[in-house]
Symmetry: D2
Subunit: 345 residues, 4 copies
C-alpha cells in the first residue's frame, strides 16, 4: 500500500514521543499489512516515554512505538497462506528466530534472537503495521475489540498464573498495575481458592476488588505478611505472583509464602536486592520462577478459551480511551497510576 | 464403648442386606471410634446389594457395609494424637499399609495391601465405626454435614478431573451417575472452557444441566461424536472422563477426543472390549489413564478448597434422604437411576 | 540445479519399487537442495515396498520413497537464512503447517496437516532431495555419517523412552526391530535400572543383548510375564515400550507392568484387539500413551546429546550396507528379519 | 534391652563432643532398637562440633549426635509389623508428623513438625539407636555396609539431581564436599551429557575427577563462567546444583546457567546476599529451587536402584575410617577439607 500514515515515534534519545508522518511500511515475503484500529499503552511504553535507563540502553531511535493492538489485515505479502484481507487480528509482537534452542524446544518466548516490534523495530502506535504472518493471532468472533487490543498484557498475566498448579490454590499478587489486576480474574477462572492483591494506589486496589480480589492489601498501612498469615491459618499462600518489581514487595512475597510454594516473578526490579536464600528459599523448599512474555502460542489459546467461555471478564480493566492524537493525555493518565489499561483509538 | 448397635450387614453370599444388632466395635491402638451421623450410598454398595460377580469374588461375609459417612469422634484409642472427642470427621476408607512401594512414593491410593472398610472390613452403615486415626479427615467449619458424607465419591470426581491440566480445556464426561455429575462443577471450578455430559437417563441429564453442564447428550438419540465435533470445530474435546464403565461409552470417548488429548478412565467396564489402538491411541497421540480412588490426601485438600471457597456447590447432587431403617427404599431409589446421591440418616 | 538424477520410486499401486531417472527437484523459497550421501530403510519403507493396506490407502504414486538420510546442502532457495552450501545435514521429514493447534502448542509432531516426505511427497531415496530449511538438522562434528542417516528411527526410540521418567526405572521393550533395539542403549543412558527385551527372531535378540539388554526373552518359548515378574520381585516393570505392534505383545505388556506404570505404544497393531481395561488399566492405575514420530525438535537435541557425549553407541545397529542400485537385495535383507538397520549408499 | 552404651554427645553449649556412657535407649510402641555398625560424619555434624550460630540456635544439649548409619535390628517395640530382629537397615532420620499438609501431600521432607534424630533428638553416634519403624530403610542384599551408612547424604545428592529433567542435560556442580562429589556419578547415571564441578580444594577436585566429572574447575584460579561458556557454545549449562553455600558460588551459578535453566540450591549460605533478579532470573526465565533433605521415600528407591544396578559406584567417596573412640581425629579429618566421607566404626 502506497502513501503516508501517522505514527507515534521516538525520534531521538530523551523523554517524550512525537507524532510524525511516515510512509506506510512495505511488507516483505511472509508478512501482512495491518490497519491498526485499537492500541493500548503498556508499562514498557511508559518507560520508553520517560526514557529510563533500560530504554536508553535498548532503543535505537527513530522507531515507531507500541506493541498492543487490534486491527484488520489489509494487504498480504508473498507466501502468506493462512490469512485473508479483512481478517481481524491481534499479534504476538516478539518476532522470533525459529532456529535457536529455545525456539526449537517449545520456549520461543525465550528466543535468543528476539526482535520486539515497538521496541527493536517499528510498532503499532501508527495507522499501519507490517508484521510476519506467523505472529498474527486471529481474534475469535464476539471478542470486544478493546479486549483484543490487550492480549499482550493479558497474556503476561495468564502465562504467570498458569506457570504451575492453580486449582484450589491460594494466591498473593504483588502489584496492582494492569497485569496484576488482570491476573485476579485469571486466578479465579483457573480455580484459585483465594486471591489477595497488595497495592499502594487506592484506585488500583479498588479496581482489583471490582475484578474479584477476595482481599486487597495496602502495604503502606498493613503488614502484607500478617494479613496473609491471618487468612491462611498461618501457613502463607500457595502461590505468589510478583508483578510490581518493587524490592519491598519481592521480600514481602518471600515472607508470605507457604513451604513448597511457587513464587513467580514477572515484575522487573530496577536493581539488585538482598535475599536470605537459606531462610526464604532453601529451608522452605520454595520454587522461584522467572517469567517472561507469553508462551507462543499456548498462552494465546488459553486467553481465547478464558474470554470466549466468558470465564474472565476484562472489560472493567479498561479505564481510559483517547484518540491517538491526544497521546500526551493518555501517557499522563498512565503515569498517574489512577488507571487500568488505556486505549488509543 | 460398651453395648450394641444397629448395622447394615451382608450376612452371607447372595443379594440383599440385613439390619442386625451387633456389638459396638472395639478400637485398637491408633484407632478412634466414630458415631456415624450421615451415610451415603455408593455405586459399589449397589453392586454389593445386588451381589454381582465382583462382589462375590471380593467380599467375605459377614461384613458391615458402607464407606461414605460423616460423624463425630466419641472415643480415642491409645496413641491417638491428632483428634479429640467431639471432633467432626469424614474419612478415607482405604486403610493402607504405608510400607509398600506405592505407599512410600506418594501413591497410597494404589497400595498393594489395601483394606477397604465397608468391603474388606466393617464399614459405616452402622451406628459406630472403628477407624485408624490416620484415615480421618477433619470436616472444615461451615461444611454441610450431608456434603461431608460424600467426600469419598466427590474425591473420585476431583481426582479424575485433576489428573491432568484443566484450565481452558474442554471436557466430555461419559456417564451421569453421582460421580459423573459431581465432576461437572469440579471441571467448571477447575477452569474448564466447556463441559459436556452424556447420559441415557433423563433425570440424570437434567441434574447434570442443573449443576452446570454446558450441554447434555442423550447417547441413545444423538451421536456423541457428532455433537462433540460440532461444538469443538471438529477437533474433539481436550479431555474425556469415562465414568460409566459402559463399553459403548468407552468407544464414544475415543471417537470424540482431540489429538494429544487425555482420556481418564474411572468407570469399570464389566468385561473386555475391542479397541483400535492404532487409530484411537497411537496415531492421535492420546494418553489413557486408569484412575482409582482418591489421592491421599492431596485430593482431600482440593475438596476442602473447592467447598470452603464456595467454588463448587454439591448440594443439588443429594436427591434422596432416608432413615437407615428404610434402607430397602434407599437402595431401590439408587437402583432406579432416577437419583443423585442418597443419604442414610 | 539442472539435470537428472536416479530415484527409487513407487510408480503405481502394487508391490515393488523402480529405479528411475527423474529431474533433480526444483527448490522453492525457504527450501534447500540436499545431495543425499547415505540413506536408511525404515519399516515404513518395507510396508510401501510390499504395498500393504496402509500403503494402498495413503500413497499417491508416483512418488520417490525414503525418509532417512544424511547429506550435504548444495543449493539454497530464497529466504534461506540459517544454512550454507556445504553444511552436513539430516532432517525431520514431517513437513508441518506451523499454524494448527498442535504446531502452535509445542506438539508439531502431531500436526493436523503433516506432509511426510517419502510418503506423501518425494523422499530421499534419490540423489537429491528438496526440503524446507526449517526441517533440516545440522549434524554435529564427529558424528558417523551412517548414524546421522538414522536420526529418524533413533528419534522414535528416544521420544518413546523419554515420554516419562526413566532414571532408576525398569523397562520392558516388546519387539526387537531396529527401533526396539535402539531403545536399549537409550534406556541405559537415560538411567534405567534394568532393560528387558522380548523378540522372537534370534538374530535380533542377539543384537539387543550386544547393545546392552540385561535379559532378552523369546516369547515363543518363555512367558514374558513370568520372566518379568521373576526379575522384579513380582511387581512388574515400571515402564513398557511396545515397539512390535503385535497383538500378543500388547497383551503381554499389560500383564508385565507395575501398578502405576507407564505403557508407551509406538508399534502399530494392524487391527483392533480385545483389552480388559478394568484389570489392566483402571485397577492398577496404569497410564497408556500413544507415541508418534519425534518431538520437534526437543528429541533431536536429546539425540545429539546422547551421541556426542558418547553415552549411546548405535554403530552395532547398522548391520547391512548396499549401493542404492542393489535396493532389491537391501529390501530382502530388511524383510528377512535377520537385520538391524540397512544403509543405501 | 537393658544396660549401658557409649555415645558421642554434645553435653553443653560450646565446641566439641564427649564420649559418654549412657543407658541404652528404651523403645516405644512402633519403634525398633538398632545396633549401630557403621556411622558417617555429615557436614552438619561438623557444624555441631564447632558450635556455629545455627547449632547454638537449634540444639538443646545434652543430645547424642549423628544421623548417618548402618545397623542391625535387635529389638522390636509393640506394633512393629514390617521388621524382624536381624534385619539390616539404614534410616531416614527426619521423624515426621504424618498429619501436616506437607506430610499428607507427598512432601514429608518438608514436614512442619519434623524432629531430626542426632539434632533435635538422640542420634546414631552411639552403640544403639531407638527409631520409629516407619523411618527404617531395609538395606538391599549386596550393598556394601559403608555405602549403606551414607544413604542420607547420597539421598541429598540424588534428590537435588533428580529435582528436574536430567537426560542429555549439562550440569555444573558448585562445591566438592561429599554431597557435591556424590552428585557427579548420580548425574552421569541419570543421563547427563556433561558434568562440571567447581571446588577450591585440590583433594576434592581430584576426587570429583576420579568419580567422573568431565571437567573440574578451580574457582580461585579460573572464571567459572568462562569455563562453562567455553564448553557450552556460550549458552551456559542446563542445570546448576549449588552445594557449597558460598555466596560467590551462588553468583557464579547464575552467570553460568542457560536461559530457561534449572538452578537447584542445596548448600546453605550463612547470610543474605545480593541478587540481580532481573538479569539473573526473570529475563532468562530461570527456575530456582530450594532443596531440602530427601523425598520420603521416592529418593530412597532411586538410591537402591542406582546402587543395586551398579550404575553408581560411591566407594571412592569414602576416604577415611576411624574407630568411634578416635572421633577427634575423625572430626579433624572432616574439618581439614582433604576428605570425602569419614566412617566411624
Amino acid at each position: 500500500m502506497k502513501g503516508n500514515m501517522k505514527a507515534l515515534r521516538k525520534m531521538k534519545p530523551g523523554p517524550g514521543l512525537e507524532m510524525r508522518e511516515v510512509p506506510i511500511p512495505a511488507i516483505r515475503d511472509g508478512e501482512v499489512l495491518v490497519r491498526v484500529i485499537k492500541r493500548a499503552i503498556c508499562g514498557t511504553d511508559l518507560h520508553i516515554y520517560k526514557w529510563d535507563e533500560w530504554s536508553a540502553n535498548r532503543l535505537k531511535p527513530p522507531v515507531t512505538t507500541g506493541h498492543e493492538f487490534y486491527g484488520e489485515v489489509v494487504e498480504l505479502g508473498a507466501d502468506v497462506r493462512h490469512y485473508r484481507v479483512g481478517d481481524l487480528v491481534t499479534a504476538e509482537m516478539h518476532v522470533v528466530c525459529n532456529q535457536c534452542f529455545q525456539c526449537r524446544t517449545g520456549n520461543a518466548h525465550l528466543c535468543e534472537n528476539v526482535v520486539i516490534l515497538g521496541v527493536d523495530g517499528d510498532g503499532c502506535f501508527a495507522e499501519y503495521l507490517a508484521i510476519p504472518e506467523s505472529n498474527l493471532w486471529r481474534v475469535p468472533a464476539g471478542i470486544d475489540p478493546e479486549l483484543a487490543a490487550i492480549y499482550d498484557p493479558f497474556g503476561n498475566a495468564v502465562h504467570t498464573v498458569m506457570a504451575g498448579p492453580t486449582v484450589g490454590k491460594s494466591f498473593l499478587i504483588l502489584g496492582g498495575g494492569p497485569i496484576g489486576i488482570a491476573a485476579v480474574p485469571v486466578c479465579k477462572a483457573a480455580g484459585a481458592s483465594m486471591v489477595l492483591l497488595s497495592e499502594v494506589i487506592p484506585f488500583r486496589r479498588q479496581l482489583a476488588a471490582t475484578m474479584g480480589a477476595d482481599r486487597v492489601i495496602d502495604p503502606s498501612k498493613e503488614s502484607v505478611e500478617e494479613v496473609v498469615r491471618s487468612l491462611t491459618a498461618g501457613q502463607g499462600v500457595d502461590v505468589v505472583l510478583e508483578m510490581s518489581g518493587h524490592p519491598d514487595a519481592v521480600v514481602q512475597g518471600f515472607r508470605s509464602i507457604r513451604k513448597n510454594g511457587r513464587y513467580s516473578l514477572l515484575g522487573i526490579p530496577s536493581k539488585p536486592l538482598s535475599l536470605d536464600l537459606a531462610r526464604d528459599v532453601i529451608f522452605p523448599g520454595v520454587t522461584v520462577q522467572g517469567i517472561n512474555g507469553r508462551r507462543m502460542f499456548e498462552t494465546w489459546y488459553q486467553m481465547d478459551a478464558l474470554l470466549v467461555s466468558g470465564r474472565v471478564d476484562l472489560k472493567p480493566l479498561i479505564t481510559h480511551r483517547f484518540p491517538m492524537a491526544e497521546f500526551e493525555k493518555a501517557f499522563a493518565a498512565g503515569l498517574s497510576g489512577d488507571s487500568g489499561k488505556i486505549i488509543l483509538e
